[in-house]
Amino acid sequence: MVKRRTFITTKSPNKYINLLLTTLVSILIGAVIMLALGHNPIEAYIQLFKGAFVGKLNLGTTLQKFAPLLLTSLAFATAARAGVFNVGVEGELYLGAIAAAWIGYTFTSLPGPILILLCMVVAALVGAAWSYIPSSLKAYLGVNEVCVTILMNYVALYITSYLVNGPLSAKTGVPQTPTVAAGAKLAQFMKPSQANMGLFIAIGVAVLVYWILNKSTLGYKFTTVGLNPLHAEYIGIKPEKSIINSMFLSGAIGGIAGAIEVLGTYGYFLDNFSSGMAFDGMLAALIVKNDIKMVPFMAFFLAVLKSGALGMERYTGVPKSVVDTIIAVFIIFATMEALFAFLQKRKAKLVEEQI
């Protein structure tokens, strides 16, 4: 039998069990913290669950938060495949968002679907173009991308801030752009929540990204470069090119995430709207070690935690930052797992050498 082609063969089948255990332990530690703060963790978790799933508003909010998280986590995982640690998705998201907003309220005469498509494409292009700065610096000059992308997030944020307070301002007293054409808005459902068709766009993008990364020549090259750039160079795959291409893709996804927020959730670009959406996406990708199959589930799980946290705080008084603590514990565990894997590998290598 021929197995389905994936570049990274799953090594241990208990990877999923590991993740499940990690989840449980993180939740337990969250419970301990709640106890220490003098709250009833069971009650809190019930409210968290209700806050995420029960009722149109709650479930809708979860879905609405899920769409951009899915995209930003994919954006991070895509670059990671080629060995690039792209912390700059937040910046790409902002720039993509404001580009989509501008198109959306400027070309109002275009029919809806075409306008939406145009918004998405331009947002993707803007995000991709922005990513070229850190990727080319890394590929050709060896500049560390982590540094550059973090710093460029601020640049992007302040550019949009300037635009939305100046040339693109709706002049309403609130730093926001004019509202996009009605046809450009993504249909919302499950009202009164802000869930919108962006969810399906995100899922579509996810499928496409999965295909590119795991089934195409482009994905093969990313993987080769990410795992062993020296080998890639020897084989005739230019590491520079793959680094830049993976960042283009990553930036484009980030841009689309921004566009979805503008066209689906708000209808306009609001200054500083993201508040770390891309960083949550990055965490989701990091927790599952950029395993593209698991990224959507982790993104969904984080969306549940984020949206349920509101309900939890409202009904039990447990501060919603406890949820951030749980996510942080998650990260620690994921890192520890990497540490164990590293130690095991070292041991295995020693054994190999010893024989």
Binding site: V2, I212, K215, K221, T224, L227, Y234, G236, I237, K238
Partner: protein, 515 residues
């Protein structure tokens, strides 16, 4: 009572699930040179590391000088008179030879180190065994062969009666080996017992009194040198007859495929590691490049294949100037390359056999069209290669990091030979692989040659160079010290060139020497 000073009986040792030694037997007489031979992974180093106390044995008994020892550690082993020279030297580069030797066992005068006393004692060993070393030099200023002598003196200084040498000749030229054997013999005459771990059968036959063979962690036999020969030993090691000296095929030599003209390139540290090399390779010819590792062979190959920048000079492949072109362009021009380090360049260890085999064809029809991979074609292509080149295991989805050295190397060889270029560069093609794979890789190289391709063979193994090449170029410190016809090449004249010497014109036709 018997006269064994070391007895190891029924030894077993596992590392996790891997059984390194299943049934180890070894004994050593006083004043003998006893070779322990076997293929990579046969468990010979593991056996000796147990004797030296680096690993505890799982079961079995170890007796030293008739006394059973338990809970052996290197410290106890040293006290019991055992010394070991590892494959990789354990010397501190920044310290002098003298300091390295006495490290941890310094003679003291009040609270200071008594260097005079140390020097005198070391001089004693230097004189007795005729080992010339320079006690005042730092380790990074002395050649490998000398560092090895330092290691041996270090063990003697610590009072070793039994010296274990793990693959000691791997870093030596033929001439150095001769001298090294003289030292071993004088140590033997002085009553020291020596364990010589090796897989070079010729040397084993030359130096040993007795020989113990291991295969797959199992003790096979111990024989007296007088009662055996190379063929029998090889058979014991591998479990079947082996033919390493493939008969050279006489092929009609054709046009020049590769021409290297006055090539200069930089190394990791030096500005010019390769200093003006000119070579040419013709169709149907294997050009062997001999030399001790680190004399610029790696840099030369990297410069030819586009992996290192050429400073000056020209590389011309089949009439096309490929100097400083990208590796992809050079490949497209007809270069194929088995790199010296399969684990770094040659393979992507985290990817499957299939993904590694298809690597150079990923953008070619019918294996892909645009972005879309044609998995059916890729699968059948991989299966075909696995079968043709006898890669085991045969499941194409297995990660290459799980393969043995020989099978991993076969993947690289299969991929590059199948790419069917005009020139094949085989750099250390059989390093660290088992005898079975050596045999088949050498046969493949000969077939490639018979198909009219040019081959550059770089190898630190002089036997390999001699048995495969049609012409032999010898490198020393980034230059070619001589190019010989294989008919005129032997260990002596090549060994001399490897050390930077020059041949008289009577020895051979010395063409293109650059000294």
């Amino acid at each position: 009572m018997n006269d064994y000073i070391v007895e190891m009986t029924n030894i077993t040792k596992s590392f996790g699930d891997v059984k390194a030694v299943v049934d180890g037997q070894f004994n050593l007489k006083k004043g003998e040179i006893h070779s322990l031979i076997g293929e990579n992974g046969a468990g010979k180093s593991t056996m000796m590391k147990m004797l030296y106390g680096i690993y505890p044995n799982d079961s079995g008994t170890i007796k030293i000088k008739g006394k059973e020892v338990q809970g052996l550690t290197p410290n106890i082993a040293i006290k019991d008179g055992i010394g070991m020279v590892h494959q990789e030297f354990m010397l501190v580069n920044e310290l002098t030879v003298l300091e390295n030797i006495i490290l941890g066992f310094e003679p003291t005068k009040n609270i200071t180190i008594d260097f005079d006393k140390a020097k005198k004692e070391i001089q004693k060993y230097i004189d007795t065994y005729n080992m010339d070393i320079q006690p005042g030099k730092k380790i990074n200023q002395i050649p490998l062969g000398e560092a090895q002598r330092v290691e041996i003196i270090k063990t003697l200084y610590r009072g070793a009666e039994i010296v274990i040498l793990d693959e000691p000749t791997a870093v030596l030229t033929p001439q150095e080996t001769v001298k090294f054997f003289e030292i071993l013999n004088s140590m033997k005459a002085d009553g020291k017992s020596i364990v010589f771990i090796s897989h070079k059968l010729k040397e084993v036959m030359e130096i040993s009194d007795r020989i113990t063979v291991m295969r797959d962690g199992q003790y096979m036999n111990t024989v007296n040198k007088e009662d055996t020969d190379i063929d029998e030993l090889a058979k014991l090691m591998v479990g079947r007859e082996v033919f390493l000296n493939v008969k050279k095929k006489d092929v009609v030599v054709g046009e020049t495929v590769l021409k290297i003209d006055n090539l200069w390139t930089s190394g990791e540290k030096e500005l010019s590691k390769i200093k003006g090399i000119s070579l040419d390779v013709k169709q149907g010819e294997i050009l062997g490049i001999a030399g001790i590792d680190g004399n610029g062979q790696s840099e030369l190959i990297e410069a030819i294949t586009g992996l290192r920048k050429v400073e000056k000079g020209k590389v011309i492949l089949d009439g096309e100037d490929i100097t400083n072109k990208s590796p992809l362009k050079i490949r497209k021009s007809g270069m194929t390359h088995i790199p010296e380090d399969r684990n770094i360049r040659g393979l992507n260890r985290k990817l499957s056999i299939k993904d590694n085999m298809i690597a150079v064809k990923i953008d070619k029809k019918p294996y892909s069209k645009g972005l879309v991979l044609n998995n059916k074609e890729i699968d059948s292509f991989t299966k075909d290669l696995i079968e043709r080149f006898d890669v085991r295991p045969t499941n194409p989805e297995i990660l290459t990091e799980a393969l043995s050295g020989g099978n991993a190397q076969k993947i690289v060889v299969a991929r590059e030979v199948d790419a069917d270029g005009k020139l094949l560069i085989a750099s250390q093609p059989t390093r660290g692989v088992d005898i079975g794979a050596i045999e088949s890789i050498r046969k493949i190289l000969n077939e490639v040659k018979a198909n009219g391709k040019g081959i550059i063979l770089v190898s630190a193994d002089l036997d390999e160079i001699l048995s495969l090449s049609d012409r032999i170029a010898v490198m020393y410190e980034g230059k070619i010290t001589g190019i010989l016809d294989a008919k005129n090449g032997n260990e002596n004249n090549i060994g001399l060139l490897m050390m930077g010497g020059k041949l008289g014109h009577n020895d051979s036709e010395d063409i293109g020497g650059n000294l």
